[in-house]
Subunit: 209 residues, 2 copies
């Protein structure tokens, strides 16, 4: 079993932290997204979508999509639980996790992909010849600021993002907040709930993965 | 328990079909996205994100995000399984499902939201004051065509989208294909695998839900 990984990118980091929380260590193959290695023939033969991370099982099955890979390990090794134990907890964690993806990670990706010169003709993941659209940067910043406001409100209601236990939703949110530094976006100083949470989750050993 | 629903929109339909497959019937409250009812105070009090569907449990807990709602019912009533039975099947279905969301539904939403006049200042779900960006229509059409090509290839390898059993991945793909008619996009006539699959899944009683 091995993981196609890229240390600079937020999605592979989500899987690495998830695995570290479970104490699972697997082989990793580095693919450099910034230089476009993910769009070269060698990697496209592994994953025709050209995106990372990808998990390759010993039987050759390949699973892409971050949450699907996490799901695999959650079933294989349920403890410590990171995706919930019962119907309601599973649904709440899944919902919060997806909110971070759609409301936080997607606008952040728009900001980065449509402003960083290295992505000027790769404004969507996994593809070449997609020109940046400048208007998406401002739209992305507005959306991301609304996400940060909502995040701070949610974190005022519970210790972690989906209740009183650390979960995959926290992993996604942490990777998004850290990746936002690429876009020079920091947690606003008056977002005390988010700052408290960020300090708490950043102390976990797994975040170094 | 009740579901905040919108009959015209693709995401609530995904939940309705999922419930119909499991034979679960719950109360539904219609919210009209086209006229902006989801952005009015009454609904924002239910879900501050302004998006549909939302599941409200009897204890008052509200779960938004389509897949999280489906996840809730999958745990509550595992049979018939729509999200997989073991680690590998669960991961593969989740992966395929997410590919349809990110590669199919998101570009399609870009096409519709940035071209249909009713959404000219609501180009992102759940928000007002987001102006349409015309360039996203062409980008969306390109992305969606690539999605259709990949879908046809995948459906040449198995009966359903994630193997030999009908799953949530098929539900998402069916809702995307049907919603594409809003953008005057049909399955290309030479996509024989997709046409075979579409004919098969369209015959299920649940698609009328």
């Amino acid at each position: 079993m091995k993981l196609y990984d890229c240390t600079q990118a937020p999605n592979p980091r989500r899987v690495r932290i998830f695995l570290a929380e479970k104490g699972i260590d697997i082989d990793k193959v580095q693919i450099d997204i910034l230089s476009g290695e993910n769009l070269q023939a060698d990697f496209l033969a592994v994953n025709s979508r050209g995106v990372l991370p990808v998990l390759e099982l010993d039987d050759g099955t390949r699973i892409d999509e971050t949450v699907a890979i996490c799901q695999y390990f959650e079933v294989l090794q349920p403890s410590p639980s990171l995706m919930g134990d019962d119907a309601k907890t599973k649904a709440l964690i899944s919902s919060r996790q997806r909110q971070v993806e759609f409301d936080g990670l997607l606008p952040l990706a728009d900001i980065v992909r449509n402003s960083v010169p290295a992505f000027s003709t790769r404004a969507l993941p996994g593809r070449e010849g997609v020109d940046a659209i400048e208007a998406l940067v401002a739209r992305g910043i507005n959306s991301f600021n609304q996400f940060l406001d909502r995040l701070d409100k949610t974190l005022g209601e519970s210790q972690y993002l989906a209740g009183d236990a650390f979960s995959i939703a926290d992993i996604t949110a942490l990777c998004v907040i850290d990746f936002a530094q690429w876009a020079q976006i920091e947690i606003p100083k008056h977002h005390e709930n988010t700052l408290r949470w960020y300090s708490l989750v950043s102390q976990r050993e797994s975040v170094k993965a």
